[in-house]
Every structure is written in structure tokens, then in C-alpha cells.
């Protein structure tokens, strides 16, 4: 007998666009005075937000820290909130100054309406479309290299 996929939990339908909260994504950058684990940082940010806005304010602001967007190298991440709460979240992040004994500052780099836009603008992420104009140049460089016989390791690919 064929295996049928397990029955998934029924979900409510999505709210209509007029009922949905308008969201914004704040790109934040963390400057730190020592080694900090991401989970500790996450807790510190939540504590900072809950401390400043309170439980009710945090709920109204619709705050969510997007763990998957955290970039350890760039020390940047995204926080989602309602469009009306951007200033409050910015203020709450300004009041985060310590993770354990390590001093930190959390700076808001910018605000975007979509994750994709935020990643492009603030994380420097590129999609295939952004390479569209540059393709001939790359080919030309490869051809030029082949003619001169010079090779540079890892420059192009």
C-alpha cells in the first residue's frame, strides 16, 4: 500500500490585505566588545524591547526577530515590526547596551518593506538579475586572460 503523506494541521486562511498589519523590516548592525553568542544577543534584544515597550507594547508592535536572516560575518540581522512601531523599536534597540558582561551597541542600518528589499539594500545581497548587465564584461575579461595567458586564482569564479 502506498504511503500517503501525513495529514497536516489545518490552518486558518490568510487575512485579507486590508486587515493585515503593514510591516516593516529593520536591518540592525551589532557592534560588540567581545565574543557574543547569537542566542545571548537575541535574548538581550528581546529583554531590551520588552523592558522598554512592555508586553502590551511589544504585542501591539508585532515584533519578531528573524533568526534565519542573521549574518554572523556582517553582524547584521532583521527585525520585523508594524509600520507604526518603527520609531519605538529603534528607540528600544538603542537601549540595548550589554550582553552578559560584554558591551554592545545595536544600530539600525535602515528600514525596508520586504525581506528581499532589505537584503538587497543593507546586506549587499545580489540576485541573478543584478548580473544581467555585467555578463559580457566577465566574458570579455576571460577572453582577455586566455589571450595573455595570465591566471588569477579565484578572481572570477
Amino acid at each position: 500500500m502506498a504511503d500517503f503523506p501525513e495529514k497536516t494541521e489545518p490552518k486558518p486562511n490568510r487575512l485579507s490585505p486590508t486587515l493585515r498589519d503593514k510591516k516593516r523590516y529593520l536591518a540592525f548592525y551589532v557592534e560588540r566588545g567581545g565574543e557574543v553568542q547569537f542566542m545571548d544577543l537575541l535574548n538581550a534584544i528581546w529583554q531590551g524591547i520588552l523592558g522598554f515597550l512592555g508586553e502590551l507594547g511589544t504585542a501591539k508592535a508585532g515584533i519578531w526577530i528573524l533568526k534565519t536572516t542573521w549574518d554572523e560575518q556582517k553582524r547584521m540581522g532583521l527585525i520585523k515590526c508594524n509600520n507604526t512601531a518603527v520609531e519605538e523599536v529603534r528607540a528600544a534597540l538603542a537601549l540595548v547596551n550589554r550582553v552578559g558582561d560584554i558591551p554592545v551597541t545595536v544600530t539600525v542600518v535602515g528600514v525596508s518593506g520586504t525581506i528581499k528589499g532589505a537584503k538587497k539594500k543593507f546586506f549587499g545581497e545580489r540576485d541573478l538579475m543584478s548580473f544581467a548587465g555585467t555578463a559580457p564584461t566577465v566574458v570579455a575579461e576571460v577572453e582577455e586572460e586566455a589571450e595573455t595567458g595570465e591566471e588569477e586564482e579565484g578572481e572570477l569564479f
Binding site: G51, R90, L93, A94, N97, V108
Partner: protein, 242 residues
């Protein structure tokens, strides 16, 4: 493009934990056009020492670095004496508030530039309408110190926020001038200007007036004092042009 200034960053000579080079680097990184290194005034020799260090630190940077003094005194007589001594030597003169008599004396003295955290250590906001009107008349800015918020917790922070909110209402009513400063003792207490403005916005200020507190108002204070120190500004409304 708007110019942003932080008019109170504490010097390493009087309690600050970061060197001038670190402060300058952080100021550039946070997007400030200039910062004011403030001396917790002890004597004129100490001020001279800081002035030399500030000039040296400002040599290799685009950041506009000003010299200021923060006065902490216990009596009005002492305040007047120290203001008299220091006024012609610094670009920004800050009086550390807290005591009501000191707050009121600072508001009534046009030589004072900023009355910092009038609510410090009090259960009320430290200002009333008389003080706020006097401050407006004498162009004394009310300073909102970010450090007070940063280093307080729970009940104490709530009290400070409440007092700042009250002072915001007074400023709004009297059309007085406000300034947001970090009062940072180390680079870890410095924040970018937009974040300083956001904290004030959360307390009831309009975003435009909050931004004015980190850009137009500090610039006005600095320009006015630089003209006075250069002998170009004789008195209110009288300037040497050209």
C-alpha cells in the same frame, strides 16, 4: 544634508573611559558632523589640558570637535562664580541639573547653553513653567541625557521617562529649545543621532522636533558661541558682519 551634533561626550580626563581617538572614530561611524568633548570642570588648568588634547584629536579628522565644560555645583553662588570663570574659554557650557535652585538659576542665566537632565535624582521633573519660560527667554536649551536612561532600570527608568515627558510638554508649551545628548562616558554609550531622536519620539515629541534636537539646535548653539568667542557677536541681535 542635515548636520548632526552630540554636544556632550565626556572627556577621558574627567571620568570618561574611552580615549579621544576612540570617541572621534565612533563619532564618525555614527554619522555625526561634530561632537563636543565635555570637561567635568575642576579647574582652569584641567580645562587647558583638555583643550590642547582636543585640538590634537581634531587635527586628523573631518569631524568638527568642540570643547565644552559641564558644571556640577551645590549652590547658586558657586554656579555663578564658575560660569563667570569658564564662559569665555569653552564653546559649550553645560550645567548639570537636579537641584531645583540650580535648575532655575541656570534657566535664568543667558550665559548657560544647556541645562542637562534637570530631573536627575528627583521624583518630579525638576522644571516648572517659570523655569521653562526663563529658559526660552534666555536661550538656554534643556538637555535630555541618553546616559541617564541607558544606565537605569525598571522603576527608575520609568520615572525618568515620565519626567522627560513632562519636560517635553513644558518645552512644547513655552516654545523652548531642547537638545538631545548622549552624555557618554565611553564609546559604548554613544548612539547614532537617529536613535537619540527616536527615544524622544517615543516620549511624545514630534519626529521633526526630535530631529531638530540633534541637528539644528546644537548647530545654532555652537555657531552662536563661536561668533561670540571670535568677537563677531556683540550681543543679542548685534553682530559684526564681514
Amino acid at each position: 544634508m542635515a548636520q548632526f551634533y552630540d554636544l556632550c561626550v565626556r572627556s577621558p580626563f574627567t571620568g570618561g573611559q574611552s580615549s579621544l581617538a576612540e570617541i572621534v572614530k565612533a563619532g564618525e561611524k555614527f554619522g555625526f558632523s561634530g561632537i563636543c568633548i565635555v570637561d567635568g570642570f575642576r579647574d582652569l588648568a584641567g580645562l587647558g589640558e583638555l583643550k590642547a588634547a582636543v585640538e590634537k584629536a581634531g587635527a586628523g579628522t573631518k569631524l568638527d570637535i568642540a570643547l565644552g565644560a559641564e558644571i556640577r555645583v551645590d549652590s547658586v553662588q558657586e554656579l555663578k562664580k564658575v560660569v563667570e570663570q569658564v564662559r569665555d574659554r569653552v564653546e559649550v557650557l553645560i550645567v548639570s541639573g537636579g537641584d531645583y535652585n540650580i535648575n532655575r538659576a541656570a534657566c535664568e542665566d543667558s550665559r548657560v547653553d544647556i541645562l542637562l537632565h534637570p530631573e536627575a535624582g528627583r521624583i518630579d521633573s525638576g522644571l516648572d513653567e517659570t523655569c521653562a519660560e526663563a529658559a526660552q527667554k534666555n536661550s538656554v536649551a534643556i538637555g535630555f541625557s541618553f546616559k541617564e536612561l541607558l544606565n537605569s532600570f525598571r522603576k527608575q527608568r520609568a520615572k525618568i521617562l515620565e519626567s522627560i515627558g513632562t519636560n517635553a510638554q513644558l518645552l512644547d508649551k513655552t516654545k523652548g529649545m531642547g537638545v538631545a545628548v548622549s552624555s557618554a562616558s565611553s564609546v559604548w554609550e554613544m548612539r547614532e543621532p537617529r536613535q537619540l531622536a527616536s527615544v524622544l519620539t517615543a516620549l511624545g515629541f514630534e519626529l521633526s522636533s526630535a530631529l531638530r534636537m540633534v541637528s539644528e539646535n546644537p548647530v545654532w548653539i555652537l555657531e552662536k558661541n563661536r561668533k561670540v568667542l571670535a568677537g563677531k557677536r556683540i550681543t543679542e541681535g548685534v553682530e559684526i558682519v564681514g
